[in-house]
Symmetry: C2
Subunit: 192 residues, 2 copies
DNA sequence: CGAAAATTTGACATGACTCAACTGGAGTGG
DNA sequence: CCACTCCAGTTGAGTCATGTCAAATTTTCG
């Protein structure tokens, strides 16, 4: 069950967990399954858990006053989900996270995570790596959002996340890019 | 000289550095002054230092193929600047950072920072807080970029960073918001 | 098969951009 | 103190990219 997580930790830190460490990690994380369309987090909730995706796909989005959804994150296996702001500050989130496919997660509460930081140094390392990678990726996204045309944003996305093109329908990708599904459809037609 | 940094550390971690710790921090950071318009970092450079702003104001921007500048960050006293991706991966940066006002910085190289993490636990704590805050702020910015109109992005910016309105000219703020200076001018006219 | 979801297409509206001209300071040097 | 330049900001006209709405078509899947 937790093997994918051990593997992930090894991959991003170079550290192989000892057996007692694996045990500690195993006890800190709770497995949870989500059916397609089921919420992991809803607007107004406090995000009490971060989750590691073992299997499946999720999306994180906000809903504007007109009811339109705007996708902030698409995530698949080996990605982490949750709203950090809500998780850390214990404030109600403005986002929704739900399962796009049937999904298996490993959940960890804040207190348990901080406990783990003490007990398993590799977790702290992993957290730093995650933050670093996340921060690099999101900076690129901001740059793309303010300086690229819709067409270029799509090209950039397709180059960086080719696997997502298979996994998520176009209207979600359009929303992720900040454009309408119609515009994306026309861009793709052109590009061929 | 370094007092502002000690104060910053205390503010964000609650930790007051001991005298020996202050000494370690002082030795790790190198003061540097920039004249207005002077570069801290240029496209193609490797970003060897992160810097804490003691005094002044800077901007970080990319330049597109048409020569247009797109502002990723505006920063003033007590902000950190640098390109994390380049700093961590030692790859050439795609951004420029220059001084908008005459600026005083404290620089720290990667190796020295990691050394400090070992010697002064409060620095590690501070780094985590910084990452957390940065990650929350930038997530909001992505959300704004993909789901708000130009007008709403400006309102949001003005509400979150009122001090920047005084400090930076409108065309920089427009660029930060991903709109042209003309559009911002018209938005402001309307809003009155 | 049939229903729901996803995608495409067309006509039209509009927000934002471009380009160019103009206005109004804030220096600067004679 | 004036003339000059530089820079920021404003304004207008025309254009373009993208959005909106509605309908048609294709794909997915129970």
């Amino acid at each position: 069950m937790h093997a994918a997580l051990y593997h992930y930790i090894n991959q991003y830190t170079g550290v192989t967990l000892t057996n007692p460490e694996q045990e500690l990690v195993k006890n800190a994380f709770t497995p949870k399954k989500l059916r397609r369309k089921q919420y992991f987090l809803q607007e107004g909730d406090v995000c009490r858990y971060l989750a590691f995706i073992l299997k499946g796909a999720t999306r994180q989005y906000s809903v504007d006053e007109k009811g339109a959804e705007h996708i902030l994150q698409l995530a698949v296996e080996n990605w982490w989900i949750g709203d950090r702001e809500s998780y850390m500050m214990l404030t109600p989130t403005i986002y929704n996270i739900d399962a796009w496919e049937d999904t298996e997660l490993l959940l960890i509460a804040k207190a348990d995570l901080h406990q783990l930081y003490q007990e398993v140094p590799a977790i702290l390392l992993m957290a730093r790596q995650m933050d670093d990678r996340h921060s690099m990726a999101i900076q690129r996204r901001v740059n793309a959002a303010i300086s690229f045309s819709a067409e270029k944003r799509y090209a950039d996305f397709a180059a960086t996340h080719p696997e997502f093109l298979q996994r998520f329908p176009q209207h979600l990708i359009a929303s992720y890019l900040g454009i309408t599904k119609e515009t994306l459809s026309r861009i793709r037609k052109q590009a061929i």
